[in-house]
């Protein structure tokens, strides 16, 4: 147990920023990113004894982070939609602002909002390849797909993102 304790602290120190960045890019919400980071490391702690290959720890943790982000973001989205339906008022989420303010905002918000309109799979690939600078192999491991599929899907996702950013600009 003591060995596991040291390990979790070392893993946390090494990777919590990566997990938080991923979660923030994925959800564009500070609150959700914190929830995802917390949930991810609690799962890592529970499953640490299952990890056999120490060299794959980074992609293993990010896979957990990605799956957690998908779950939490989906639940939050459903909650938001239900609340909107019940109160009959749109709820402004963090990062989605009225058009007048968007114009003033920095370029990063345009890209982030365009990223939010993409499907989960495309968003993950772009975050991994363009924002976190992971290799094709690492991205393939996180998404559990082949490297060939990463290359193909990445180009398609970038084309879609460019279209969205172009429209917003």
């Amino acid at each position: 147990m003591h060995k596991n304790q040291l390990q979790i602290e070392q893993l946390y120190d090494a990777y919590h920023r990566d997990v938080y960045h991923f979660a923030l890019y994925y959800t564009n919400s500070k609150q959700e990113a914190e929830d995802i980071t917390q949930e991810t490391f609690l799962k890592v702690l529970k499953q640490l004894h299952h990890l056999k290959d120490g060299e794959k720890v980074k992609t293993w943790i990010l896979t957990i982070a990605r799956n957690t982000a998908v779950d939490i973001h989906r639940k939050q989205k459903i909650k938001r939609l239900l609340t909107e339906k019940l109160t009959k008022q749109p709820i402004l989420t963090e990062g989605i602002e009225p058009p007048a303010i968007v114009e003033k905002n920095e370029q990063w918000q345009i890209v982030q909002q365009a990223l939010m309109t993409l499907k989960s799979h495309d968003r993950t690939i772009i975050i991994c390849r363009m924002l976190k600078d992971y290799t094709i192999q690492e991205t393939a491991a996180i998404l559990d797909i082949s490297e060939v599929k990463v290359r193909v899907d990445f180009h398609r996702a970038m084309a879609r993102l460019r279209k969205k950013v172009g429209r917003r600009n």
């Binding site: 147990m1 596991n4 304790q5 120190d13 919590h16 923030l24 990113a33 917390q38």
Partner: protein, 134 residues
């Protein structure tokens, strides 16, 4: 190049780093969380333990020629004893078959459960051989 510039602005978004308070509190939570480190009770050991006990009792029964004593008003006669052994054997067979189906349908490729499956199958074979030659 333009793509890179776009993403560079997003990489440098002002709120990219987690708050220090959040990071520290999560680290403390992970340090002080013994409950999470205890393994949950899963179905697998619950199945394995009675399974293993049943097989060892069966092996003991046939190697020592003993039968389990059951308190009743009438003492078991030979045909009843045979029925009991047959029923016991059938129970062990069905339990072991179900256990094998459980282990492989769950997709275990290594570990204690797979080892126990092979060990129990071998024990059962040895036990039946011993009983047949008794």
């Amino acid at each position: 190049m333009e793509d890179r510039e776009l993403f560079d602005t997003l990489k440098n978004r002002p709120d990219i780093e987690p708050e220090q308070a959040f990071s520290s509190s999560l680290r403390r939570e992970l340090e002080n969380n013994p409950k999470l480190k205890t393994k949950k009770v899963t179905v697998a050991p619950l199945l394995t333990i009675p399974m293993t006990i049943a097989i060892f009792v069966f092996l003991w029964m046939i190697t020592t020629g003993q039968t389990l004593e059951i308190r009743s008003t009438a003492s078991p006669i030979i045909s009843q004893e045979k029925t009991m052994v047959f029923t016991g054997g059938l129970f062990v067979l069905l339990s072991l078959v179900l256990f094998i189906i459980f282990v492989f349908s769950k997709g275990y490729t290594k570990g204690k459960l797979v080892f126990i499956t092979f060990a129990l199958s071998l024990c059962v074979w040895v036990g039946n051989l011993v009983y047949a030659n008794w």
